[in-house]
Amino acid sequence: MRAHDELLRAFCSTRVGRRRFLQASASGVVLLGIGALLPNGCSRYPKPAVPLQVLNPREYAMLGVLAERLLGVAGLVGAGPEQVDVGRNVDALVAPLDADLRSQLRSALRVFEHGTYLFDLRRKRFTGLPPDQQQQYLAGWMNSTLGVRRTVFRVLKALVSAGFYQEPRSWPAVGYDGPWLGRIAVDPRGAAEDPVPLDDVLAGRR
């Protein structure tokens, strides 16, 4: 894996003008470039049970598998009544992001899914690997000598953490008892000032 990191690093020597997230480093730009060239079809991925705002079926499926592997919650992720639909939740979280950042996230997902061929010399994409090989592949990203791969690992982990642990049904297993609001009676202090219409502001009326 490290040899492939070095190979990727060798391609990266130009200074980057426009910088953001994965565009922060030359290797990030190469990674995004690879992402743009990878197949975008979703025909072999199961259809999500719910309509999505941003993600496609492949990304939705990937996030479910990633959540299971990264968070160690196999069987708890999905669209079933006792499960947490991580793909749907992440879709809602990334919807407000600007188009540029969303595009980079999706490229990162694409590179991660198909990076098995490049980084691990495997014949299947990430979601097609058996669980033990998925674990090995994830460890390669986590421990990579290439900063951008570690960053992608962190981002994916943060995304699925947000997608999974936002739901109250995930809390009892980790001993979190949830917000106080609605559980205890507390008198709020003071009263918020109500905003006033533009015409009143212009007229100096309170």
Binding site: G17, A24, L71, G72, R150, S161, L181, P188, L198
Partner: protein
């Protein structure tokens, strides 16, 4: 009065004595002080004005609402996450309420190195006292210490390490522990609930949901700002113009230099955006046999400050501060993945969390490429890296002395220390960018104070050296890392700036 931006249906032009860009600790203080002196004030805030009903104590709903860039801001190579507030009230809305005066040793250094003679502890004392009174600051009591703070305190006591209770701006706090997600009970004496309402009552106009594009300069002097509403009625965006005698930049250490650069204000000595300090921190977790429930109670009541190096040089050293987090943040922070990470999450109720917070000497930079996006560069120096690692060793030792069964370090992979004095896990591990993971809640510097225009941007009152009519009143004026959370210092210096502006005009 606070403008309901959903009623904005046309382009708007306002006139005032002072236009303040940003409504956090600095902007709200200047607004309150000047409006109380009879000056007409307009405060413009890019973020929304939020009623406490929006503070739902749920991470996924509130973090994108309250933090800049939906909580995803980072330095450009993603090696340090930066969290700062992005609503009316700025970072005071999401702070843990720590209100500390600047350490005397630090102020002495500023006096010697930057010529800031007016910022001696004695001369600043009245401003700190006034800020403390306004923000209802009081020292916490031993009864305010939750189990997470107690774990840190116990370890410090057993090792004879200096620690103390800190002071907070809370009023009848109920101890729910959700300070970082905005106070749902309005028990935090922050800019949103104290200074902004006071300014509003005195006649200030608060304009939320509006992005200032540039400071307008005519004949070499600032005469106002122009921008546009991010929310309005009907077809937009509608523009906002404010004509003012003075413009106060108070958008924080990232926002203020961006506005300066975007406005192409004079920058002869290329000081704008430089000297960025982040007070970066790493989060260390320690597992105990008994329940800690780090998310319950006042998050930061004690600080271990023995290892701050305030007297010999500017920067250097670190402190330990308790850290509270809810499930999403904890899951994202805890190392490893799979079953090991799940086991850590299942130990969440028994985890104590604390940060090693660096008094950084590293100086980063905020830049705006012509026609391009913002760049925030910050590369931790070798010396600062060594200091962070030293802090991780000492904090691990402290927790083990307190009775922890294992200490989990902030690397990508699961790395633990289980025996006192055995730090091979740290010593043998190379430092990589974003491994260990750094985060920052207190960006500062970038428009620093000083007497020499070649080395600074504003004078000790926050007045710009090169642009008449421009003042700065936020954490960007600090000439070095402050070592302590800067909320109170920003308020105190902003009062000084406001007093200077008022006195100058009187004359």
């Amino acid at each position: 009065m606070i403008l309901a931006t959903e009623t904005v249906d046309r382009d708007v032009v306002l006139t005032a004595d002072v236009c303040i860009v940003g409504s956090g600790a600095g902007g709200a203080t200047v607004a309150r002080e000047l409006s109380a002196r009879g000056r007409s004030v307009v405060v413009i805030e890019e973020g929304p004005y939020l009623d406490r009903g929006r503070f739902t104590q749920r991470e996924a709903a509130t973090v994108p609402l309250l933090y800049s860039q939906l909580g995803l801001r980072a330095v450009t190579d993603a090696t340090v996450m930066i969290f700062h507030g992005a609503a009316v009230g700025g970072s005071t809305v999401v702070s843990d309420c720590v209100c500390e005066r600047l350490p005397p040793g630090l102020l002495s250094q500023w006096s010697e190195r930057f010529g800031l003679k007016g910022l001696s502890p004695a001369k600043l004392a009245p401003f700190f006292e006034r800020a403390e009174a306004r923000a209802h600051v009081r020292p916490l009591l031993p009864t305010d210490i939750n189990a997470n703070n107690a774990a840190l305190k116990t370890g410090a006591e057993r090792l004879g390490i200096r620690h103390r209770l800190v002071a907070h701006n809370r009023i009848d706090c109920v101890g729910c522990g959700y300070c970082g997600l905005g106070c749902a009970y309005d028990r935090k004496a922050d800019a949103r609930t104290v200074d902004i309402p006071a300014a509003s009552r005195a006649g200030a106009v608060i304009v939320p949901d509006c992005r200032v594009e540039r400071v307008v300069v005519e004949q070499g002097r600032a005469t106002g700002v122009s921008g546009h509403f991010l929310r309005s009625r009907g077809a937009g965006p509608h523009t906002l113009g404010v004509r003012a005698r003075a413009v106060v930049l108070a958008g924080g250490a990232i926002g203020s230099p961006i506005l300066w650069l975007r406005s192409q204000l004079p920058n002869t000595h290329r000081q704008v955006g430089r000297h960025l300090h982040l007070l970066p921190q790493v989060v260390v977790a320690a597992e105990f046999a008994d329940e800690i429930a780090c998310w319950k109670g006042i998050p930061q009541a004690v600080v271990v400050d023995q290892f701050l190096d305030l007297d010999r040089r500017v920067g250097g050293g670190y402190c330990f501060a308790p850290f509270s987090a809810h499930p999403i943040a904890v899951a994202a922070l805890l190392p490893g993945f799979g079953s090991a990470q799940r086991a850590l999450m299942q130990a969440y109720p028994r985890l104590a969390l604390a940060t090693v917070r660096l008094h950084d000497r590293t100086a980063g930079r905020v830049e705006l490429d012509p026609g391009g996006p913002l760049t925030i560069s910050y590369h931790l120096s070798e010396a600062d890296r060594a200091t962070v690692l030293d802090g991780m060793r000492r904090l691990a030792d402290l927790y083990l002395a307190a009775g922890a069964t294992r200490v989990v370090l902030p690397y990508n992979a699961l790395v633990e220390v289980t025996r006192r004095g055995d730090f091979r896990a740290i010593d043998e591990r190379p430092w990589h960018a974003n491994d260990p993971l750094l985060s920052s809640y207190h960006p500062q510097g970038t428009l620093r104070m000083g007497t020499d225009p070649k080395r600074s941007v504003v004078n000790e009152y926050g007045r710009a050296h090169e642009v008449p009519g421009v003042f700065v009143a936020d954490a960007s004026v600090f000439p070095s890392s402050t070592a302590v959370p800067p909320q109170l210092a920003v308020m105190a210096l902003a009062q000084r700036t406001a007093a200077y502006m008022a006195d100058t005009w009187k004359a």
